[in-house]
């Protein structure tokens, strides 16, 4: 009887195994790259009904974050401004720009397309329904907007800068010193700890004394941010919780 299976077929199982292996590794790699929040979210930049330019308003015109996101210190939500907040200035500035048409539809009663309906801004950052993030809890304790939202003041169009995964939250809850800053610098998105310590010599002394007298920290190599962060954490009694009920209820 002739060889029913030619010799080359001996390698088929091996080839199949290798292919399957590559396929599995490929799927995992693709999943790890494409399906994680880091890839899914970071860089998400939907186009908005009005191409609002943060760079222009903050850097060039010097608006504070809280002019528009006015309740960030008082509420869990950092509110998107109401149409009349925009209208305060824009009834005088660039009123007739076609880009502001949705605003005028919402607020300008003299405009022919006026319908009084709110502007539908596209949500960029979204916490899941079961996670209850509270802005006021963070900004009132020295966590800057920048820590989670990135350099919004330099964005011409807002995009999702950080992953904002649960791991991202927990990292900071475990080591808040990497992000804590003096309260007056929370809305200063150009903040630099070195510069701050330079300008506030008395704080720098306090920080250095604190680090020098702390057994656990004194020998370590710490950045200025970490030094100041450790000092503030101790001084303000910052003890972020890691238990589930902190954010989930």
């Amino acid at each position: 009887m002739a060889n029913f299976f030619p010799r080359w077929t001996n390698y088929i199982p091996l080839k199949l195994a290798i292919c399957a292996g590559i396929a599995v590794v490929g799927v995992i790699a693709a999943f790890a790259y494409y399906a994680t929040p880091e890839t899914q979210r970071v860089g998400y930049m939907p186009s908005q009904p009005i191409p609002y330019n943060h760079e222009l308003h903050v850097q060039q015109l010097g608006l504070d974050c809280r002019y528009c996101h006015s309740f960030v210190e008082h509420s869990g939500h950092a509110n998107i401004p109401t149409a009349n907040t925009c209208w305060n200035c824009h009834q005088h500035v660039k009123k007739d720009s076609p880009k502001l048409e949705p605003l005028r539809r919402a607020i300008d009663e003299t405009y022919e397309g006026y319908d009084g309906r709110p502007i539908e801004w596209v949500r960029v950052h979204q916490a899941p329904d079961y996670a209850y993030f509270n802005h006021s809890a963070h900004v009132n304790r020295g966590i800057s907007c920048e820590s989670c939202h990135g350099d919004v003041h330099e964005m011409e169009e807002v995009y999702h800068a950080k992953s904002l995964t649960m791991g991202f939250c927990i990292d900071c809850h475990r080591e808040p010193e990497n992000n804590l800053r003096p309260l007056e610098e929370v809305y200063n998105l150009d903040y630099d700890p070195d510069e701050y310590l330079e300008q506030n010599r008395d704080v720098a002394t306090l920080v250095n004394d604190f680090i020098a007298n702390n057994d656990k920290l004194s020998g370590k190599k710490l950045s200025s941010q970490q030094k100041l962060g450790h000092y503030l954490k101790d001084h303000w009694n910052v003890a972020p919780k890691e238990s589930c009920a902190t954010c989930h209820r």
């Binding site: 899914q40 009349n84 607020i107 801004w121 596209v122 007056e184 209820r249």
Partner: protein, 1150 residues
Amino acid sequence: MSKRVLHHPDVPEQEADLSVWRSVREHEDTIKFRHQAIREFQDEEDTMDEDERELSRRNFVKLMGASTALAGLGLVSCRRPESYILPYADGPEWIVPGRPLFYATTMPAAGGAIPLVATTYESRPTKLAPNAKHPDNMGTDAMVQASILNLYSPSRSKEFLNKGAKASKADFDAFFNGFVKNPGKLGVVLGNDESPTRNRLAAQIAKKFPSVKFYNYEALENVAAEEAIAKAFGASKVKLTPKLEKADRILSFDSDFIELDAQSSSLQYSKKRQGGGENYDQEIDKKKMNRHYQVEAVFSLTGGMADHRLRVAPSQVAKVAVAVAREVLALKPTAALTQAVSGLSASFTGDEDYITDWVRECAKDLVAKAGKSLVLAGSNQPAEVHLLALALNDALGAFGKTINAYASKSSPTGSLLDLKKDVDGGAVDSLLLLTPSNPLFDAAADVDFASILDKVKVSVHLGERTDKTAYACDWHIPANHYLESWGDALTANGYYSIVQPLILPLYPDTFSEMDILTALTNGVALEAATAEAPSAGYEEVKTTFTKQFAKSASDWNNLLKNGFAKERGYAGATFGTVPSLKSLAAKYEKTPSKDALEVILAKDHSVADGRYIDNAWLQEAPDPVVKLTWDNAAIVSPKTAKSIGVYKEIAQLETDNAGRPEIGEAGKARAPMAEIKVGDTTVTLPVIIGYGQADYTISLPVGYGQASDDGRKSSDSFDEAKPTVGHVGKNTGFNVYPLRKETSQFLLAGAKVTPTKEKYPIASTQEHHAMYGRALAREISTMESPSKGDYKKQLKKVGQQGMDSHIPENIPLYKSKDTEKNDLISDKIHQWGMAIDLNTCTGCNACLIACQAENNIPVVGKEQVAKGREMHWIRMDRYYAAQTKEYDSHGHKIKYKEGEKAGEYKKVPKWVTENPAVLPQPVACTQCESAPCETVCPVNATVHTEEGLNAMAYNRCIGTRYCANNCPLKARRFNFFDYNKRNPLIKKNLYKGPFGEKKVGSPESLQRNPNVSVRMRGVMEKCTYCVQALELAKIKQKQITKKKAESAGSSVIAAASVNAADLRIARDSVQVACQSACPSDAISFGNLLRDGDNTPDKDRVVKAKESKRNYELLKYVGLFARTTYLARVKNPNPEMPDAKYIGLATINIH
């Protein structure tokens, strides 16, 4: 391998005694009940029905296959869907997105309005709480808490009806605009609540159109009694408001004054009940504690609180009242009392002999405390009993001291009977119904309201529901909810309080009573409120206030802010005298017997007079005493049940070898049906047992049976084209109003009961989640107990009742330390704890419903409740307790040594054991420090927080239910279905999976608390001490960093130091939902850590836990629970015949 069963230590026979029980089957100690007590969930065999079993295996595979395929399709779009943020176009003042905003408002009610503070989120009312600043703060009861759901009821009336058919506003306007110009001989029927603006408008209308007449009607108001009382005071309308905080001795003749008959704040009663220890600064002082005597037929919550409860038929209450009056007369004669009881006599012989002593000693005690004692009569009782109570109060010097009498300033109005006369006589030929009642359904049968409607030319009805009356009238106007309308009301002591709207009407065509009366006054059309212009009621209320109550212009703003004004809308009234009450003798002459039972038509704890039939929260809340949900039933005592011949069927006695009984309280629970015949009228409804009820009486809660399509008798049939109820109220209960007669509105004699062969499925929760262990709810007595010593000794031994008397000190092997030896429950700023005081808890369900509102707890429907799947996080346990055997000084039962009864135990007299006490006990998760649930969760979905909460991460839960199996308190609830998404009230809907009808977008979802996850199918849930409220309070406190720096004047905030005390929220500043709702202040909650050791620095809860009455539930299991309980104290009169058995039911339990 069989399941290992934990064997609880046996009790020595000498000491064994079942003196505390929760259901008939437990009382009879059936196998079935014992089997159920050791399980977390009910037996699968019991709870799975055909559909579920069908679904179980084959369908599961089928569905899994289908869903996998669908999941594949879903993968096509990986990115989450785009979502939008819609800020206000024009931001309203005060609204901060994400932050609650509170408004003071008032719920109008017949006994006195209820001052409230409502929580709104972005203008959406979500939760009601009592207005603690109001001088007449009444707390809230279950109905008040649930009233917010009526606002969002899907079956609310939204459209005009013309002769039962839908009509437009324009159609109505065409009729109404002519009507208001010339209403002619109009009869206006109002509710019984007191509203100054309404009174003013009514007076104006009467002046403008002299032919218009006004009437009052609410189904359960005792008109005869009110008229008689008013006469005794020589006024047209009188409001009696007891001052419970001043009353040291209270005698109540069938009055449920804490709950359903409430005339004033029961908070004051609780305060007095605490004997000077209401803030837990001291133990209860028996001298300062009040003593409460209750004479009643059916167990009420008030009767449950009483120190001495006399169980007599309703007709015999009058006899007891006469006997008391004669005793008081002998000790303290007054003219009024002499006149009242002249020609009346009452004596008790034979089986009732003990009543003679009871009455004498009670009267003595009342007289001894004259000036501090109070007598109240229930609204079910005839006018004579009310007058007798007035005469007694007069004799005891109660007026002005323990009871206030107020005269209403409203002009006199007629009753429903007057209306009938006027319609028959032609004085009224058109009708405007503004009463919240449903007269076609609930008026006495012989008033024949249908004929009134037939006779009038035109009838207009205003109502929130399209009830029977709405369809029968010529026009129906959809009504606003009180949270949508402007109005005003007077509270129990007459304080002017404002009803202020929190939201524009949800539906465009709804109107309030004020709108209609204003239209009549001014002869204008009905205009709905808009964002620009408030409804007409606004101007009218403002006018009333500025004309009658305001002193300065700024008062209006203060009124809106506080919800009340200091001015009162009542004048004082002085007691005159009462006539001779000879007619009373005939009423108590006959005692009820086996062949002629007495029927009591009672206000229902869930639906009131029927108006809340479509409120799912109330329907699902178990009746506080008999624990029935979704239905009403005839309630009888065990002896009566035996005489009717249904007891065995209910108890279903069985032996160890008997097969599984058909009756159980699981999915197959059936109650025997019986026909109840009074005169020519028969109603048919199921019979259940209520302990402590007078023999040969039947209690029939009213208001149910408004529509059904399952062919039941004693219910109106459901008409698809004219739905009188929504999904909630359909097929619930039986209509007993047909029994009602104008002459005997609430009490009927000579009833005959015949059991039919039929059975009716009931959903009763009394056996659900039954805990093992003894002395779960505990009580002691201020009197000396033969076995346990005096009050002080009993107090000391509260912690050693039941199993706790023979446990070693618990030394846990498991140490809750992390690897660095730090405490796992580590927070040094907050550690939460709760104490529930059983001494003031009445078991009223307010906490249960407040929790439901706060925590987005779904309703599951009758079938699911029957299976033990109700979702209430707080379970209101109710124990009946009665000492059955006598004990000696060693705590052993006394055995007869010689004589006829040698070898038998000495028994407590039957009249005492047949009248058990009621011990309510709310049980929710107790946040055990060594929680058994946490160790068994395979996915760490339930873990402890640093602050001592046993948290639930819902999104992590995979639904193994191990935790619930391991919870000795059975405090965990499992979402067997997607109760929030699929409407569980549609038959079989839950079992249709993805094909079932969805509830998405129905108006109830507007009530949801945005700070709490809405749980889905397959997730375990339970109480977490309103963790959302705690987190918000802590976050608010964190703003202190900035404040501290600013107050230090430093520009460099980094330099300001913040310590633990700064971050600790202020003492008692956060209230959990159940605590704030509690109308008797029985729940304390707060931070167990404190700033200093001084008493004033401690949170109330800490002081409560330091009380000797404090004990831990199931302590022998070693849970280290954060919620603890405080034992109940009874304050018996040592001279009373039953004194030595009061408050001692749990004390001898080992």
